[in-house]
Symmetry: C2
Subunit: 419 residues, 2 copies
Amino acid sequence: MTTALAPTRDVGQGAATRPLRIALAGCGVVGGELLRLLDRASADLAARGRALDVVRVLVRDLRRERDVPVARERFTGDVGEFVAADADVVVEAIGGLEPAARIARAALARGAHFVTANKALVAAEGTALAALAAERGATLRFDAAVGGGVPALRVIESALGGARPRAVRGILNGTSNFVLTRLEGGATLDAALGEARRRGFAEADASRDLDGRDAADKLAIVAWRAFGVAPERVIVRRRGLLPHPERLVDLARALGARLRLVAECAATGAGIVASVEPTVVAADGALGRTIDEENRVEIDAGWSAPLSAGGPGAGGAPTATAILSDLLAPFEAPRPARPRAAAVADDRALSWIVGAPVAPAALLDACARAELRAVAAGCGPHGSRVIVEAVAWRALERALGALDAPERATIARLEEGVA
Amino acid sequence: MTTALAPTRDVGQGAATRPLRIALAGCGVVGGELLRLLDRASADLAARGRALDVVRVLVRDLRRERDVPVARERFTGDVGEFVAADADVVVEAIGGLEPAARIARAALARGAHFVTANKALVAAEGTALAALAAERGATLRFDAAVGGGVPALRVIESALGGARPRAVRGILNGTSNFVLTRLEGGATLDAALGEARRRGFAEADASRDLDGRDAADKLAIVAWRAFGVAPERVIVRRRGLLPHPERLVDLARALGARLRLVAECAATGAGIVASVEPTVVAADGALGRTIDEENRVEIDAGWSAPLSAGGPGAGGAPTATAILSDLLAPFEAPRPARPRAAAVADDRALSWIVGAPVAPAALLDACARAELRAVAAGCGPHGSRVIVEAVAWRALERALGALDAPERATIARLEEGVA
């Protein structure tokens, strides 16, 4: 796995009876959501021999009321006190270079498991932190730094059997993509940014998102994991959406296409090249269809199609879940071989399209007799078609049994929103 | 990680000087490609202290000539002899239930690392094999059994922080999807299947692909890893594409949509439901745009958008790469902190669209003076637009510097194939 820079190990080994001690720096949208996720997961984890205890939370403003399941006396506003906490795992979710770097170095120096979502920190000091981790037998994970909830680094590192891809490209900044989607819909930049902030996808200052610096930091980390080039050495040709993002959107629209802030790194004969820039992409392509705060990576492994991963690239729950995945990675308990859920037959009420070599009236009649809601959907060379809504498969099958030659009916399920 | 059913461990621990001994059952499209991948990766792996040695290859026909980098005397046609080989890792790529199950049990019983791409085997005996692995301290991995090169199980298991999704759906059979794409293009079923076979995406007998049994086996494994329900207990409501796949395609076409063989499992109040069936999906949706032999999974985690992964779902190289990823997973060596590649500035010849508040002639003239190939692309409220092809960023920037107020130009890169 990509981000376990030292061999994974069980920091809390032999500690099935002692809870895993977690220290969290930052209690904003992501940190707060992580505390709620940890609280919800704790019973299940304890049952698997992995009890958790959040021993320290570092915050900027101690007086602020917070809706998180952690006792107030565990909060501190003092970085020195936080760093001194005796924790097995240190999670950093404050962003920026300092005091994040100080927290990272202190945690790794004493052999802890350090998890961060901080792309600026990893892009600037990744190789130094990895070297420190290797030297001290600590572990470093930063999957949450790229892609929000999208396991971009995990896929790059774990799905290619250790081989290098030819290129990786994608949309790595959810805030700017949200803004572009809103501009396409006719909103102004101010209105788009306001909505992104209200929905928790943008900070008060979104300039690092809009000018491409955030995506460039993430791309440097991608280039590190994909090609082995030191992140702090990656030379990113970077241009952002400012000052006139709406003009960029117009340029793409004039071509019947869409504008995206595309990050790309590729291996060339000369070395690894990297760029973040406004790019006109096909409206019906994978990047053109990546909307709102979604992120997407496409990995060119030289196969018949790129390997891709997409999903929510911003927001508290996806990012906190990515941190939780990193947090638990070195401590995976064996899963029970005994199943934990029951399987039942699928007979939900769904929608269907039915074709049969009979007149529409015969099809509609068979449905009516079985009290099914059906509407005619046309005729064709193979007979007539009806759409039947909100009915379980067995009831539909029974109704069609009333037709002459029911085995000649052709039936497909209708995805929600189609027809 | 999802498929490490026992805690990952280093089977070859202390064996930095002794090569990792690999036994491979099956030397068809996938097995042969795996041997070539292993050969290509061996120098890099040896440099990282992980030398490999393919000690035994099980084949049906010993006389057949094979273009693989393994000495002929290591081949055997005898299952008993193969099972008796002293291997650290046993890879099974023959498919079907027997002798695959015998090979799996023998490998796990003596504590080896067992890797398989065999969905039928894992769907039928997954929990028994996992229990055996746990009892004997062996490891079992089968990521390659679902999704071909798409790390579907890895994403389900590693990206949700141990939480259960609400539902997982997708296209899990590359052969049937290839056939559907060709039928949409007007081909007959026979012609579509013939082409799939020539390209290595379909076996001689494609009935398990077309009737949904192959996808149902994969879905049972997905349901196991996503929801903890025993794969052999999963009740799949299954209908395939036969006897008249072209009529199903027509039904979807009549609605301006596309037909796909969609596999879905979901948690309901009553339990886990699962289905594989012809489904009409939006032409411009993620599943409708999944073409040819591609596979795709969409994981509904309750977030603002589903988490998705897609890529080549069939073919030798992607599937063999997935097996190689599984094979190496327990033996991950620490990555060197020292960078292994050089970063260079990106100044490749690319295509661009330029908008500027000047007349088209002024823009074209600036490009012509710099000897750039530019064509007018229209006028708008913000001025004129030109498309400039095959030019490096610095040359373009220099050319535009000749304009009055060059800082008012708006420039986006043009993705290949757009405009």
